[in-house]
């Protein structure tokens, strides 16, 4: 046996498919990495003919776009997978759904459109604030919208960071048990929890209810009225 072999070269994918998937119920607490491991295992259980990267530790070809934060539910996460042999997109959706754990579901599979990342520039969130007084929420929304800037700070991997949430907000409305916000996906990324903090800033009466529970309803492009999904 020869020590230190060269890694085998893997063939490039013959098909690229884009997937939209949902994280619901208890699975909202799965982190992006947790989802990644569960998804790769589902691929193996379902015997999906994946294309692999080259190198000493070949990985199935998967790229994720704009992962939502741990704790948020979502109806609209996107990824692209590369396959070694062509498969029927509907088969892939069904076979993965029978292999994935509860609460993780593939919603749609299509031939990967070009420039997918550029078509995911806005998100539509629904945030429930259990126990909050609806009139307080409505008032907070009004006050925040009336401001042209609003700074919040959040602990990030790089330490405490301060940024302006207001410019990212395309639309913000109070609803029955919280609010809905449509916001730009950009740098720095404004998350629903940042909007909650901003609302609590302007209406301290809203504090004490924790960060709320967020649900991403859609991603896509902002057409001035709503978020248009890529597929």
């Amino acid at each position: 046996m020869s020590p230190r072999r060269q890694p085998e070269q893997q063939a490039p994918p013959v098909q690229k498919l884009a997937l939209r998937y949902a994280k619901r119920g208890r699975a909202r607490f799965a982190s992006h990495r947790d989802f990644g491991r569960a998804f790769e295992r589902a691929l193996r259980r379902a015997e999906v003919p994946m294309a692999f990267s080259s190198g000493f530790h070949p990985h199935p070809r998967i790229s994720y776009l704009n992962a939502s934060p741990t704790g948020a539910a979502t109806e609209a996460e996107y990824m692209v997978v590369g396959l070694a042999t062509e498969v029927d997109p509907a088969w892939l959706r069904d076979t993965l759904n029978s292999a994935l754990p509860d609460g993780l579901e593939i919603m749609a599979v299509v031939d990967a459109p070009s420039g997918l990342a550029e078509r995911l520039k806005a998100a539509h969130w629904q945030v429930s604030l259990a126990g909050a007084d609806p009139s307080e929420v409505a008032a907070a929304v009004q006050e925040l919208l009336a401001q042209s800037t609003h700074l919040v700070s959040r602990q990030t991997k790089a330490g405490m960071r301060e940024f302006d949430v207001r410019p990212a907000i395309h639309s913000l409305v109070a609803v029955a048990d919280g609010f809905e916000v449509m916001s730009a996906i950009g740098e720095p990324l404004v998350r629903p929890e940042d909007v909650v903090v901003a609302l609590q800033d302007v209406r301290p009466g809203l504090a004490g209810n924790g960060p709320g529970l967020a649900n991403r309803l859609a991603q896509g492009t902002w057409d001035g009225e709503r978020v248009q999904p890529p597929f």
Binding site: M1, S2, P3, R4, R5, P7, R26, A27, F29, A30, S31, R33, D34, R37, A38, E40, R41, A42, L43, R44, R45, E47, V48, P49, F52, F56, H57, P58, T70, G71, T85, V87, D88, W91, T95, A99, L100, P101, D102, G103, A130, G210, P211, G212, L213
Partner: protein, 645 residues
């Protein structure tokens, strides 16, 4: 044991949004089993008293979970230790310890089975019981409380937790837990005769479990145990359970695939249970005798089904000394061939030097995946290795390591213990010389200077049911001094020192493990005091507080006329009644004492698998026998899978 309970999840969800790693509390993993609570006749909680990431990969739990969820009249759900951040919010909101399947309070179940692979889980037991609203002390529990049953290796001396558990199961749990379930079912169906006490009496009378409350412990003027007296009608000694014919028990077949990250992400097959190498420090080897193998075909079928059911990409061939399997060559070779195209890798837990060979090395390194190699010489000199019966010469080790380096490995890890009986400073310092030779020979065999050796060393803790059960544990000062001398010696080595690293655990935590391992019922008060002063998660160095344990030991033990040293650094006379003498692993006490004497004299003992029975007592006492191959068979062909792509 009331029947009308509802899921705690809706109240838990907002709390989960505020704690770290909430995914560990949600359940719903692939292969988890969620059954109807109301209609089940017998309901188990299987609890591992540590965090999910450590407990979920436990093989014993996985086996029992599948078995207990098989009959349609039974259900088993899981529960793990809750980290202090969530526990605080739960106490604030009045939420109890819950299960992961239906998120039900564990107090609502019939049985709470707790698996102890280490004694460091004891404070976590108290934390879970308290969070659950189950009285800490067995005597205070009422008819509505579940029975708390300990199992796992530490249950062989459950005396330190005797007040907190209702019963302990010794040995293999497969048949024992099923028989307990059947007993509970019959007892419930017949209107719970005698209530909770009646059930515990039956468990004890039938020898199914050890019920501490049925045994009276008295102490003499010397503060040692005077006698352990069983109540009338209760067996004087309780025997361990031994599962035979492992081929007929191919579990776990569909282990849960965690969504959260855990310490082990592999499908493990126990290729055999038990070990008769006779290492004198090893409780696991002593209490799991005799050796019972699974044959190559069972292993092959389990791997095939297990990978298909989980989607994992690593297979662990698990046992106390996997390279000793009579068919290990064919098993690894054929599995490696079978899975060579599918990115599945094989692994063995740490390997014995003498059982390792170059073929095995090659099979384990296919696919270019060569993780570090681990060997466990345990002692630095041949003299000391004779004392512990680890019969391997330094030349054996060097040859094996050279072969591995020649085959492409660049790293070895060597495991040692410090503070073994009869050990001197020289025995420990000699480890540095051994590591230097590893590097010297390794560089030659590898043809490069780029090789490394890691020495991993920790303090030895004498355990019950071993020849060293009488031995004095070394005090932390001695251990820390020897570890310091070893590190200095490595650092002084100009030629090889920089290729050697030393990983060590200091001596203090070992004292507490020693107290818990060989303690008696008086130690229970120490555990309780530590927990009451905030001690939990003792297996995690950032949570473990030596000072808290020392203070609690002083407060609780001094009034009893004993102390921490009495339990740990004191050698026991052969005449002393040991707290676990009435708990029978099958080992003959005289044989153990003889083996201890042989150890001190530096005399070895062979392996009964190959050199004939030397009367350790287990097989005749328990009616068991060695069950090994080789069978001469090969893997069965793979089942054909339908592909619909």
């Amino acid at each position: 044991m009331s029947a009308h309970v509802t899921s705690l999840y809706p109240r838990l969800e907002p709390l989960l949004a505020q704690v770290s790693k909430p995914v560990q509390y949600i359940g719903g993993e692939v292969n988890s089993v969620t059954r109807d609570f109301e209609t089940a006749e017998v309901r188990w909680v299987l609890m591992y008293p540590d965090a999910y990431e450590v407990g979920q990969p436990n093989q014993g739990m996985a086996i029992l979970y599948e078995l207990l969820n098989e009959p349609d009249w039974m259900l088993a759900e899981r529960s793990f230790s809750i980290w202090p951040d969530l526990a605080a919010l739960m106490r604030r909101d009045g939420l109890p310890q819950f299960t992961l399947e239906n998120h039900l309070p564990i107090k609502a179940f019939d049985l709470v089975g707790v698996s102890f692979s280490t004694e460091l889980g004891y404070t976590n037991l108290l934390e879970a019981l308290d969070l659950a609203g189950i009285p800490l002390h067995s005597v205070d529990r009422g008819e509505d409380d579940p029975l708390v049953i300990a199992g796992g290796h530490a249950a062989f001396n459950p005396e330190p937790i005797a007040d907190f558990i209702d019963a302990a199961v010794l040995g293999d749990g497969e048949e024992a837990s099923m028989r307990i379930s059947e007993l509970v079912r019959a007892w419930k169906l017949s209107g719970r005769p005698g209530g909770r006490d009646g059930l515990l009496d039956q468990l004890a009378q039938r020898g199914l479990a050890y019920v501490p409350s049925r045994y009276e412990v008295s102490y003499g003027d010397d503060h040692a145990i005077a006698a352990v007296q069983a109540r009338p009608g209760i067996p004087a000694r309780v025997r361990k359970h031994t599962l035979m014919e492992l081929d007929e028990w191919p579990y776990p077949a569909k282990p849960i695939v965690p969504l959260a990250e855990t310490v082990h992400e592999r499908y493990s097959v126990e290729i055999f249970r038990g070990c008769t190498r006779g290492c004198r420090f090893c409780q696991a080897g002593m209490i799991t005798r005799p050796v019972r193998e699974r044959n190559i075909q069972t292993v092959g079928k389990m791997v095939e089904a297990g990978l298909a059911a989980t989607g994992l990409e690593e297979v662990g061939l698990l046992s106390l000394s996997s390279a000793d399997h009579s068919e290990i060559g064919p098993i690894t070779k054929q599995l490696a061939e079978r899975y060579s195209d599918s990115f599945v890798s094989l692994s063995l837990p740490s390997t014995r030097v003498d059982a390792f060979n170059i073929d095995l090395a090659a099979e384990l390194s296919r696919n270019g995946r060569r993780s570090g190699l681990t060997f466990a010489p345990e002692g630095g000199t041949e003299r000391l290795r004779k004392v512990i019966n680890k019969m391997v010469t330094e030349d054996d080790l060097i040859h094996t390591v050279a072969a591995a380096f020649g085959a492409g490995w660049r790293q070895v890890k060597l495991y040692f213990m410090c503070g073994l009986p009869t050990e001197t400073d020289e025995d420990v310092v000699a480890i540095a010389g051994m590591a230097a030779r590893v590097i010297e020979e390794g560089r030659r065999a590898a043809g490069t200077r780029d090789v490394r050796c890691t020495i991993s060393i920790g303090g030895f803790v004498p355990k019950s049911h071993t020849p060293f059960q009488w031995a004095a544990q070394a005090d932390p000062e001695t251990i820390d001094r020897r570890l310091r001398l070893l590190r200095e010696k490595v650092r002084e080595d100009r030629r090889f020192g920089r290729a050697i690293s030393v990983r060590y655990h200091d001596g203090k935590p070992g004292m507490i493990e020693g107290l818990l391992s060989r303690g008696d019922r008086r130690v229970g008060a120490v555990i309780e005091r530590v927990w009451r002063s905030g001690g939990v998660m003792d297996g995690w160095s950032e949570h473990f507080s030596f000072d808290r344990w020392v203070a609690a030991a002083e407060a609780e033990l001094t009034p009893q006329g004993v102390d921490l040293e009495w339990y740990t650094t004191r050698e026991r006379p052969v005449t002393e009644v040991l707290p676990w003498d009435h708990l029978d692993a099958g080992l003959d006490r005289d044989w153990l004492w003889q083996d201890y004497s042989d150890a001190i004299a530096g005399a070895g003992v062979d392996d009964c698998r190959w050199s004939g029975c030397y009367d350790c007592g287990v097989c005749p006492e328990l009616g068991t026998e060695i069950q090994i191959g080789p069978t001469g068979r090969s893997l069965l062909p793979l089942k054909v899978v339908q592909h619909s792509a």
